[in-house]
């Protein structure tokens, strides 16, 4: 039986953000294919005290030499700390040796320094690199807005990304464009497994009734996002600085950690106006989120940066609702960009005008809400991840 030990920098106990969901879906897929796969998180205790499994290693991160906030580069620092701290290195290595995997699969490149050090003594363990973004580009877009001394950090990340590509027996990309870039960075074998969605069970009538009463709007907009800084940035870049395009009785419903970030954002003079035009529910349970999405009429995807593809886009497409999104949000889902339920808006004015138009009394969406067609199946994890285990199994046979 093939053994894979997956390593990442966040736990997946209650998968909420895209990365967590993707990892847990890959893990499920491996297990479905009789691959003995386990996931171990080496995570920052400071930002997330929850442990997802016995093997997870929570660490207190030390400041990076650049002094850039750990909230922005905690993942990079985790990878560095695990090799510089012998205790941590040995702790993780003990887990690895106990598992005795054929492959180590790195979720994102951050723990590559660990693999590099490990492979000196244990060269037989092969590497799978599961990429979610072109990380150095994404990090650059995040850091350039928030600090000045970031160029050396970007170089570090670029080096790690290049090395992991060169070393990996298999690289998993999320979009075709990124597959091309990963090959350029030295990857020899790249497969594409786009981000997707699993249709959750329908929420109970009680839940629906609860949220209907709580939201108390017939025609409302939802934005769901994790605490990943680009989510807040995209929202504020496209909808800010003032939410005066919404009428006094219209509110955008915010869910997820991004809701909290937007609520606590420095809105300046528009603080009272903006807070009055949003209803933030923060992190909600999956059933609640499903209920809110089912009641909504419009889903926003105001994504202006980030690499990879956005699994919220798959969720939105499958929801049967009107989507107002940027072109970037449809990266990886290009074939759905021209669907009648999608409004692409790439500038703040276009985005706000699209929202205004959709909130008008006389707006009647003219499209089918049925998403059972063949083309929509690609948007389900079941389909999008199916080539990962088969490719891995082929790799082991070749060996």
């Amino acid at each position: 039986m093939v053994k894979i030990l997956m390593l990442g920098t966040y736990n997946i106990k209650n998968p909420l953000h895209g990365g967590q969901i993707r990892v847990s879906e890959i893990l499920k897929k491996y297990i479905e294919h009789n691959i003995n796969a386990k996931y171990v998180a080496i995570y920052n205790k400071g930002s997330n005290p929850l442990k997802s499994s016995q093997n997870d290693i929570g660490i207190h991160l030390l400041a990076h030499k650049s002094n850039v906030s750990l909230g922005l580069i905690g993942d990079l620092v985790t990878g560095q700390q695990i090799v510089s701290d012998d205790n941590l290195f040995n702790k993780l290595t003990k887990i690895v040796l106990d598992e005795d995997p054929d492959f180590i699969q790195l979720e994102q490149p951050w723990l590559f320094p660990y693999y590099q050090k490990l492979s000196i003594k244990y060269p037989k363990i092969r590497l799978i690199y599961s990429s979610q973004n072109i990380e150095y580009k994404l990090k650059e877009s995040i850091l350039k807005e928030r600090c000045t001394n970031y160029s050396s950090i970007i170089k570090e990340i670029k080096d790690i990304e290049r090395d992991v590509c060169k070393k990996a027996s298999l690289v998993i990309a999320v979009t075709e464009q990124e597959a091309v870039q990963l090959k350029k960075m030295g990857a020899s074998k790249v497969i594409i497994s786009s981000n997707a969605y699993s249709i959750p069970p329908s929420p109970s009538k009680k839940k629906i009734a609860y949220w209907k009463e709580k939201i108390n709007q017939d025609n409302f907009i939802v934005f769901v996002g994790s605490g990943h800084p680009p989510n807040t940035k995209g929202f504020m870049d496209l909808l800010g600085p003032a939410f005066g395009f919404l009428a006094p009785d219209q509110k955008i419903i915010l869910c997820g950690e991004a809701g909290n970030s937007i609520y606590n954002y420095d809105h300046g003079i528009f603080k009272s106006l903006n807070i009055g035009r949003i209803d933030n529910f923060g992190i909600v349970k999956n059933e609640d989120l499903t209920a809110i999405l089912s009641l909504s009429t419009i889903i926003l995807l105001p994504i202006v940066e980030a690499g990879g593809s956005n699994l919220k886009t798959a969720e939105a497409i499958l929801s049967g609702k009107t989507i107002i999104a940027t072109s970037i949000a449809f990266r990886g889902y290009g074939e759905f960009k021209n669907e009648p339920f999608v409004i692409i808006a790439d500038t703040p004015d276009d985005f706000k005008n699209a929202i205004k138009k959709c909130l008008k009394k006389d707006f009647s969406p003219n499209f089918s809400t049925d998403r059972s067609g063949e083309k929509y199946k690609k948007l389900l994890w079941n389909y999008s991840l199916k080539n990962i285990p088969t490719t891995v199994l082929k790799l082991t046979k070749k060996q």
Binding site: P241, A242, F243, G244, F245, A247, P248, D249, I269, F270, K271, S272, L273, G276, D349, K352
Partner: protein
């Protein structure tokens, strides 16, 4: 639309305590004019924050509000309104003779403490009075309060030109626009809290930004009091991506209401009687830029200490005014040349305007600039800032200077002091050319606007 009703929200005048200020005078003047010219159409209403709805008023109640008599409309609305006892006690203490006695017998450092204790005493009496009169008050609750939705019909007009940001009426107004289809006319005095949040108390600008946006969403028409305010509102609407209603300009009127006030009794009158003085009128707050005048007076004193003129700063204390007043009061050279008058009533103001040499108004930003209009109304030359609406109110009859250019202010004031014949000819020019906008003219302009826009040919 022959049956169209005109709802006039008179809440600000009703809730207002103390001397009428510009907005209250504007509301009352327009209310009177509409009442006289379209008595059958006009319905006066009050907004209750507690109940979040409107109540129609009887003519008798309206006339009491317009004449500053205390009225009881209902228990929720009158909750914070002085009952006759408190009102009469307030009147006693406000009497100029008593005020002067009070100021003479109690050291100035204890004034604020005494006022605080006195107010607490009044509130105590008021509370007892309220409890005793609870049953009687309940009986006064009007039986025929109608809910807003029932009062308004589609195409009725709702007018509000008061302190809507405090009233909290706009959510309900928006609902009426959306659900009933009423038409609305709201007022925009200025966008200062948005443009210059540093000149407003903490958190005030947040509240105002929301108010301005809601106003844009609620209105069919917004009356701006100057071209400058209109331009600011246009810019604001664009920034917040709010819809833009039809914008009209009606300049506000400025005549003082001195008919009912006979006594001239402000503090410090004896210091300036029979002396030349220069007047500045405005609330004392950073935006009005009294600091420039203080700096100019330091230069004037340095230039000729014996002939340094007197500056009379007249106005209520606003926010952040203590430091400047402290500096002036503790300035041993200038404290006899700069006199601060916080308690002037309209008769006092009229006396000050009539007896000053000229006026100065170095404000950083205004929505209109009533003190400039008042100065010109009394035939007095004014040196004013060249910002915002001040060129409009000035009608090219004032000297306009950069509010930060202390040297120019110094030179211009010195020039007028040394050249009285020039000052006389400037005053003659004002008398000849100034076209005052009185409260009555403003109200008639508003009446014309309502008649034209809502196609009302006859009452």
């Amino acid at each position: 639309m022959e049956n169209r009703k005109i709802f006039f929200d008179i809440s600000t005048s009703y809730y207002w305590k103390g001397e009428d200020v510009g907005i209250v005078r504007t509301e009352k003047a327009i209310a009177k004019t509409l009442l006289n010219n379209m008595p059958e159409r006009i319905v006066f209403c009050l907004f209750s924050k507690e109940r979040n709805n409107f109540t129609a008023l009887s003519r008798n109640e309206v006339s009491q509000i317009l004449t500053n008599k205390v009225v009881c409309i209902d228990e929720t609305i009158t909750k914070y309104t002085p009952l006759p006892l408190k009102a009469s006690l307030l009147n006693i203490i406000s009497h100029p003779i008593l005020k002067n006695i009070f100021k003479k017998i109690i050291p100035s450092s204890y004034h604020s403490t005494c006022v605080m204790f006195y107010n607490s005493f009044l509130n105590f009496i008021y509370a007892i009075k309220c409890i005793r009169s609870q049953n009687r008050t309940n009986k006064q609750v009007r039986k025929n309060i109608k809910l807003a939705r029932e009062m308004f019909s589609p195409n009725d007009v709702y007018i509000s030109l008061g302190l809507d940001w405090d009233k909290g009426n706009l959510t309900e107004v928006y609902n009426l626009v959306k659900d009933v289809g009423i038409k609305t006319v709201l007022f925009c005095y200025d966008l200062i809290p948005y443009k210059f949040p540093q000149f407003t108390p903490p958190n005030y600008s947040f509240k105002m930004a929301r108010y301005f946006t809601d106003m844009l969403w609620c209105s069919n028409y917004i009356i701006c009091i100057s071209e400058s305010s209109k331009n600011d509102l246009l810019e604001y609407a664009k920034t917040v991506s709010a819809p833009l209603p039809s914008l009209k300009i009606i300049n506000i009127g400025c005549d003082l209401l001195t008919k009912n006030i006979k006594k001239v009794g402000f503090t410090g009158r004896s210091l300036i009687k029979n002396k030349d003085f220069i007047l500045t009128v405005s609330t004392i707050e950073p935006r009005k830029n009294h600091a420039t005048l203080y700096n100019v007076w330091q230069k004037l004193y340095k230039y000729d200490s014996k002939n340094c003129p007197i500056l009379v700063i007249t106005g209520r204390n606003g926010w952040l005014c203590n430091e400047l007043q402290h500096m002036i009061r503790e300035d041993t050279k200038l404290n006899k040349h700069i006199i601060i008058v916080n308690d002037a009533n309209d008769s006092d103001l009229e006396w000050l305007y009539k007896n000053c040499l000229f006026t100065v108004f170095p404000s950083f930003y205004e929505g209109w600039g009533i003190p400039v209009a008042e100065s010109l109304y009394y035939g007095k030359y004014c040196i004013t800032s060249n910002t915002s609406s001040l060129p409009e109110v000035s009608q090219n009859l004032t000297k306009m200077l950069d509010p930060l250019d202390i040297y120019s202010w110094y030179e211009s004031i010195k020039d007028l002091l040394e050249n009285r014949s020039k000052l006389k000819s400037l005053e003659d020019n004002i008398k000849k050319n100034y076209k005052p906008i009185t409260l009555n003219i403003m109200a008639l302009n508003f009446l014309d606007f309502i008649k034209t826009e809502f196609n009302i040919r006859k009452n």
